[in-house]
């Protein structure tokens, strides 16, 4: 009888998983995929606990096999039952593993494998950027005469744990000045930075995608017509490069398509972050009854009670009231099917903390330096210590290596110098980009404890932040986002684009690149950043960032059109 129940449950799970996926796959593939999912689900502790619970409760009530079946189906399909968890898990698993392997298509559907070419070009750009980063890392190690990773002595380990805040400021080079610019804000900050890869490197890498092939073609034509070689600033001189600073064009979403996809963002709907403030201003008296907010909170509570990440997503498209944001973000992000989330958080946190105390990594210095950015911002300085702690845990987390679509040919970890106790360096498999701390800052607004903040951060990093600073062929990768920005701005307001690109000689992408790269952290007010990220989570796409960037430029169009120098534009575009 127990066996029957278990079989029933398997079937349910597999059937459900199958339904989940049938939008994406052929029938034959579907079964295989369902099997993979079922296997994954069975490997979670939550599955076994639920199975035990279900088995016990159902066996008590059921007297005949028919009734048993009915009860199992009913218990499974219960709104707060296991069904919801399986649902969340499959959506999440799919997002993490299947969607990451997709790649963007070329602009013209000419077929003939130009998609493969673009993919290769992006891959080449990523590799050359990676080579640069690794070269810098090695140089840094030599200059600081510090190994990439070092096992701490027992005494050092104890000292690290005792200093509750992980403050080893003595280890820091003094090269970072206190009045240094905030990475997403500063303009023309030419001072030397201690970093492996900064926003300028990334912008260059994005612009360089496909450049080599083009340069070869250009040289050929140049030598044929005996024209003098063009200078660097004229490399976009051709007419086809007039409307973009990127060399390759891929398919992007048009404004009309965005209007369809983001239809919930239409002003006809009420939004948290807009209508709630209007409402409280319109109503006078000491205690304005926030009608809209109250209704919104009610819906949000219902979504939380149902435990459905889909419901949470739908709600997030209209913004999330600050008091419910931590729980709703968790619902959208965390679906590891653990029996008790708090226990899971505490366990992960302790494990990483021990890792942090045991090893001294070269990248720790970079991360600590980066966390100092927080102290320069009047919104985030409160969280400087928390940001540092979150980042130190992040460098240690092997979970990253598992879920991130890391390039297997990536040299990280294959070299013996970079491993310690036979585990590769750094354990997370990713090296910190300049301004990494900015990604962690808004998350600190959500949680009082570093453990919970870290769990939110790592999911956000795996899904979004990593793509923001990685050149890849994935939709939602940095290159794709940059191209999306250009397309949308051109379509929305060609006059502004023209004015900036020709009259002022400022590529619009140069202006907004940091906004996109850092997800508007430090560009917008703290609360606005969270409201924007609500929507990014809700739609589960980073394409909202370039759209927002274009919207901001259009919003400032009058000032930009009046501006007669690049500096003026930079001032008036900075909100």
């Amino acid at each position: 009888m127990i066996l029957a129940t278990v079989a029933e449950l398997y079937d349910e799970v597999e059937q459900h998983v199958g339904l989940e996926r049938n939008r994406f796959r052929e029938e034959s593939e579907l079964d295989a995929l369902a099997e993979v999912f079922a296997e994954q689900i069975q490997s979670t502790s939550s599955f076994w606990i639920e199975r035990k619970r279900l088995t016990e409760s159902v066996l008590k009530q059921a007297s005949t096999p028919q009734e048993l079946e009915r009860l199992v189906v009913k218990a499974f399909g219960d709104p707060s039952g296991f069904h919801g968890q399986v649902d969340n898990f499959t959506v999440m698993w799919h997002r993490r593993h299947v969607a990451q392997s997709m790649s963007i298509a070329p602009a013209d559907n000419s077929g003939d494998g130009s998609g493969g070419v673009i993919e290769m070009q992006l891959r080449a750009a990523a590799i050359s950027l990676n080579t640069l980063v690794l070269r810098r890392l090695n140089r840094m190690s030599i200059e600081m005469s510090t190994p990439l990773a070092r096992r701490r002595s027992v005494a050092e380990e104890a000292a690290f744990m005792a200093s509750s805040d992980n403050e080893y400021t003595a280890e820091l080079p003094s090269s970072l000045l206190q009045n240094d610019c905030f990475p997403s804000k500063g303009w023309g900050q030419d001072m030397p930075k201690t970093c492996l890869c900064d926003d300028a490197d990334l912008l260059e890498a994005v612009k360089a995608v496909g450049m080599r092939a083009q340069a070869a073609a250009g040289q050929l034509s140049a030598s044929q017509t005996q024209q003098p070689k063009q200078g660097k600033q004229h490399r976009h001189g051709g007419y086809d490069k007039f409307w973009t600073c990127l060399s390759v064009s891929t398919q992007t979403t048009s404004l009309e398509e965005f209007r369809m996809r983001f239809s919930e963002l239409h002003p006809q709907f009420k939004h948290i972050g807009l209508d709630d403030t209007l409402e409280s201003e319109a109503l006078t008296g000491p205690n304005p009854g926030d009608v809209f907010v109250a209704a919104h909170i009610e819906v949000a509570e219902a979504a939380l009670a149902s435990g459905s990440s889909r419901a949470a997503r739908q709600l997030a498209k209209h913004g999330i009231p600050p008091s419910l944001r931590p729980r709703l973000w968790d619902l959208m992000l965390q679906s590891d099917m653990t029996e008790d989330y708090s226990v899971h958080v505490a366990r992960t946190y302790t494990r990483l903390k021990v890792m942090a105390s045991r090893y001294d990594l070269l990248v720790d210095r970079l991360v600590r330096l980066d966390a100092k950015h927080a102290s320069n911002d009047d919104g985030y300085f409160v969280f400087e210590d928390m940001v540092r702690e979150v980042l130190l845990l992040w460098t240690r987390d092997v979970w990253m290596r598992r879920v991130l679509p890391l390039d297997p040919t990536n040299a990280l970890g294959s070299n013996n110098n970079w491993s310690i106790d036979s585990s590769p360096f750094p354990p997370s498999g990713v090296l910190p980009v300049w301004g990494i701390a900015l990604y962690a800052m808004p998350v600190c607004f959500l949680h009082g404890s570093a453990g919970h903040a870290y769990m939110t951060f790592r999911e956000m990093y795996a899904r979004y932040f990593y793509n923001l600073h990685t050149v890849s062929a994935r939709p939602g990768g940095l290159f794709h986002l940059c191209q999306t920005f250009e397309t949308v701005l051109k379509q929305a307001d060609a006059a502004v684009y023209y004015h900036m690109a020709t009259t002022l000689g400022l590529e619009p992408l140069d202006l907004v690149f940091k906004w996109i790269l850092y997800g508007f952290v430090g560009v917008l007010d703290c609360e606005q950043v969270l409201l924007l990220w609500d929507r990014v989570l809700g739609y589960d796409t980073l394409e909202l960032l370039p759209v927002t960037a274009a919207a901001l430029v259009v919003f400032r169009r009058d000032q930009i059109l009046q501006a007669d120098s690049v500096q003026l534009v930079q001032v008036c575009a900075c909100v």
Binding site: T284, N287, S323, R325, F445, L446, E527
Partner: protein, 426 residues
């Protein structure tokens, strides 16, 4: 309408730029100028007479005066025979000390609280029920015996000593043993009697479980503008902020004298070393500074906007708890004003801005720490139209809400009285 003319006896750039921004003109002070003694020769007699005439016609609408300076006293003193015209307002009430001097404030609020709690009917009427917001406080040396008794009841408690008439954290220290007070008094070579004691202190129960954010202690600074005491009309400024200590908080006994951890005053956090070193050292009790200034960040001065604080509290503690906290804070603001309402000299030519220091404890309960007088941030605390309104357009309350700048109405008895009267015609 002619432009508004301003005058001030504090030449601070933030004031001057603010006046300029409003398009106001510098006025002049009339009869309060010191008589010109250098030109006492007989040949210039006629000139002196002419001067006198011009002096009597002082020419300002808006006076921003430093508190306690003779000019302000001279204007407000009844003996001066000086009368303000309808088109003149000044930034102080004559006896603000009732609210801003620490011992008087404590006395007034204690008395008010007793009355309020007795008056069951009035208690039921208001939604501001939170009245027990003052940490247990005694005035020293006067209440020493009461304090000693309370101290023995809670031997583990920590207390904070503050001079009654100093600001910016000067002279403050923390004690956890009774003999620390005795030692302090010996060091001061003071006999504890009213007769020869100039420096009175208040001693308050130290809020030793403050709410920590990022492991750091902070307090809340809010601004209130009072334009009338009877009826009470008061505004709260939206842009309060929280001030953070530079180092992480812990209540270890050996850290009790680390003022960077315990005192949130920006001047301590910023100038801690210099300013406190300048004070006479008192053995054992004075603040000793272990840290340098590198923890102080020039960019933000440890100040976090009230808005961000609320955003964080909403997420970390939920909507209800945050809303209750905000209501209780409003309750503190209103009750502390009510406590002195009947004592203040009401003068339609006066307005005043007060800063409130509030500490939130780990149970999200706000405590009133102190009041102070604000005299240097006019751009922040004065609504754009305040002067216009008082200078003959008939009261700020008559204006639409939009014109209040960043101020929101906290309490307006004038309007509500009127409304009540119109409802119940006598």
């Amino acid at each position: 309408m002619p432009p508004i003319k301003w005058f001030t006896d504090i030449e601070k750039s933030c004031l001057l730029t603010n006046f300029e921004k409003r398009g106001w003109q510098r006025g002049s002070e009339g009869m309060l100028l010191a008589p010109d003694t250098s030109s006492g020769s007989s040949s210039s007699d006629s000139c002196v007479v002419a001067n006198r005439e011009s002096l009597s016609t002082d020419d300002w609408n808006f006076y921003w005066a430093a508190p306690g300076v003779h000019n302000f006293r001279a204007i407000m003193s009844p003996e001066s025979g000086y009368r303000l015209s309808d088109a003149q307002i000044i930034n102080h009430f004559p006896n603000h000390l009732e609210l801003t001097k620490k011992d008087l404030m404590v006395k007034n609020i204690k008395r008010y609280r007793k009355e309020f709690e007795k008056d069951k009917e009035r208690m039921a009427q208001t939604r501001y029920q939170y009245i027990d917001f003052l940490p247990t406080t005694y005035t020293l040396p006067g209440d020493y015996n009461l304090f000693a008794e309370e101290f023995r009841k809670n031997p583990s408690a920590v207390w904070i000593m503050k001079p009654t008439d100093k600001a910016r954290g000067i002279g403050i220290f923390i004690i956890n043993k009774l003999n620390q007070i005795k030692k302090w008094s010996r060091d001061n070579k003071m006999q504890w009697s009213y007769a020869n004691c100039k420096d009175t202190y208040v001693v308050s129960r130290y809020i030793d479980n403050p709410l920590l954010i990022g492991s750091k202690k902070f307090d809340l600074r809010l601004y209130i503008l009072v334009t009338s005491w009877r009826p009470l009309v008061a505004y709260r400024h939206k842009q309060g902020f929280s001030r953070f200590c530079a180092v992480k908080y812990n209540l270890d006994a050996e850290e009790l004298d680390n003022s960077f951890m315990h005192l949130t005053n920006v001047s301590i956090q910023k100038y801690g070393v210099r300013e406190l070193d300048a004070l006479p050292r008192q053995k054992g009790t004075m603040l000793t500074i272990a840290l340098g200034q590198e923890d102080y960040n020039e960019n933000n001065g440890g100040k976090w906007s009230f808005k961000n604080l609320v955003l964080y509290l909403q997420a970390a503690h939920g909507h209800e708890a945050t809303q209750r906290l905000l209501d209780e804070i409003d309750s503190i603001l209103i009750h502390s004003l009510r406590a002195v309402q009947s004592l203040m000299t009401n003068d339609k030519h006066c307005f005043e801005c007060y800063g409130y220091d509030i500490i939130i404890d780990a149970d999200l309960r706000p405590w009133l720490i102190e009041h102070c007088l604000i005299n240097d941030i006019i751009n922040l605390v004065v609504p754009e139209d305040l002067a216009d309104a008082k200078c003959g357009k008939g009261g700020v309350a008559g204006k639409t809400k939009k014109d209040w700048g960043e101020f929101v109405l906290l309490q307006d008895d004038a309007t509500s009285d009127k409304a009540r009267r119109s409802r119940t015609p006598a």
